[in-house]
Assembly symmetry: C2
Amino acid sequence: MPTDRGQAAGRPTISEVAAEAGVGRATAARTLGGYGHVSPELRGRVLAAADKLGYRANALARSMSTGVSHTIGVIVADIGNPFFAGVVRGICDASRAGGFDTIVLSTYEDLDEEVAATNVLIDKRVDGMIIASAAVGGRDVGHIKEALNRGVPVVLVDRAVPSLDLDAVVIDNRDAAREAVERLIAAGHRRIGFVWGPPMERPPATRRELLEAASRNLWTDGERLRGYLDALDDARIPFDPGLVMVGRKVEERVTEEVARMLALPDRITALFCTETEAVTGALRALRAAGLAYPRDVALIGFDDSAWAAVMDPPLTMIEQPVHDLGAKAAQVLLDGIRGVEPVRETHTLRSRLVERASVAPPP
Amino acid sequence: MPTDRGQAAGRPTISEVAAEAGVGRATAARTLGGYGHVSPELRGRVLAAADKLGYRANALARSMSTGVSHTIGVIVADIGNPFFAGVVRGICDASRAGGFDTIVLSTYEDLDEEVAATNVLIDKRVDGMIIASAAVGGRDVGHIKEALNRGVPVVLVDRAVPSLDLDAVVIDNRDAAREAVERLIAAGHRRIGFVWGPPMERPPATRRELLEAASRNLWTDGERLRGYLDALDDARIPFDPGLVMVGRKVEERVTEEVARMLALPDRITALFCTETEAVTGALRALRAAGLAYPRDVALIGFDDSAWAAVMDPPLTMIEQPVHDLGAKAAQVLLDGIRGVEPVRETHTLRSRLVERASVAPPP
């Protein structure tokens, strides 16, 4: 909720003005932001409450200036991923409630496309941007800094970029992964495969090499890997680099790697999958090997879906709060557009382990 | 391919100019469209070939005028549907190859949102629009006519709107549905459920009432219903209105309706599902009734996916050429932007029945 951000700065928030005025937050935001329709009576109550509480923001000055297009731009890594489709739905719903239209560009994980997309949004004069960036290091963020330099607020979603001091809305990837792997360990597993790891050319010789590769790649994947290692460490299970898939992050590669892990002398008895394609790739490998879950191999994966629930047996999956993730990012961005001073924090939302029937003790 | 369109008008196409010049189509298009980078040598060859063949288009005049933003806008009914996500990918790939950026708006099947989205795109000065419209009748298309009146080319994708005389790129919904239902009939089924039909308040008394409701609703759904009826007619199987789901098009409703059809004295032995949610809803109903596919009930659905292939048994599904659908729509639109005279035809791409293991004879 934006409340905590305002309170951190010791100033009344829009929510507090709304409560004082006895109106909804959206009405207060419309009044204080100077956009959309608000009846004269409600407008009067909101302005009186704002006056009483000493609410101030450059919002009024800002949104009454010309050039506010009431459009926000969203750049996602891959709109074909149901995860991002859900995030975009949350952004659209929240921005629409705030009186803003949303335009979306998909970069398909290509940083050059992301740079081009940022330029398109600047050119189209959006009032702010939400970006799930393909950037993995400080050298990749010139385009985001360029947008900020032009006065366009930016909020990151799903993927924090450590080198950028910006508001970011993410889920608890590391905790979610740790909880899932702990669940497998609690069922008795010690040989737990991890798909997928960073796209390295060859398998890592050491844990350190693996973590270094992860830190040069996607933040989200790296956090999930750290959660896997946390759970192994807590249970004093030695790390085995042979149980981590590296290489191209595609379904075919997952199938190959899981087949390899199933053929080891001390084979895996459980799998933790960080993506939908990793789950479907793993299921193909199990079937090809004539193995069934949860009898021969236990399995937990990201992200929950209608399909996961109708599998036989149904799959235990991690459900991400995709709609909330998008809605929260939009709220933070709209606050920024209305002139609320950014606190540049990482907002972490909780995921949920949906327990079904794909975890059983080792055979 | 755009070739047939140019040939229909009796004029050389960009592809023919490209062939004559010995260059790729993209190079010829860039040269004739006056955008992007083309080396002086290739440019000279293309212009000579265009001259020799008598190629003419208002493309040059048009794209050299100011105001061309090299951006196209896409309005889809629901970006959360993997079908549209795939179509958008095809549009992005083809428009990028043609030197255009793509911005996307999702209306979540709300016609008011679609009108707003059209205004946003006009406001953002896109060079053309691709729309999967939620419009179902002539009274709903004012916003599309408005865009056309402002000189913005529009191509429809996935959904034809019969009252609009526009280029549309669709799949063979009716034939695809007929082929799938014929497959079920060939396996011996005569009691075949259909989910989902039009969102009627109460079940139709007659076939005519059902078809009238369908004609007032989404074109795609109506075509699939007609294909189902075609297959029944060809096999002289009498139409039973009790085997068609009507009402809200959501998974929960599918589960209720399939449960009802399974409880009939003369119960269904097969199901044809027109959407992914219809498939997952049907699978929930089968499981709740303690029935298995294909042993107790055969099943075919739209659309194929990685999940459908890893189900046990794997599902027989209809695969739509989603990427081609988007790419073709983008090609037709870019031709229009470059001034190629529109022929205002419906381009129909072929879907494919992917046979796996969810069809068996009736019990």
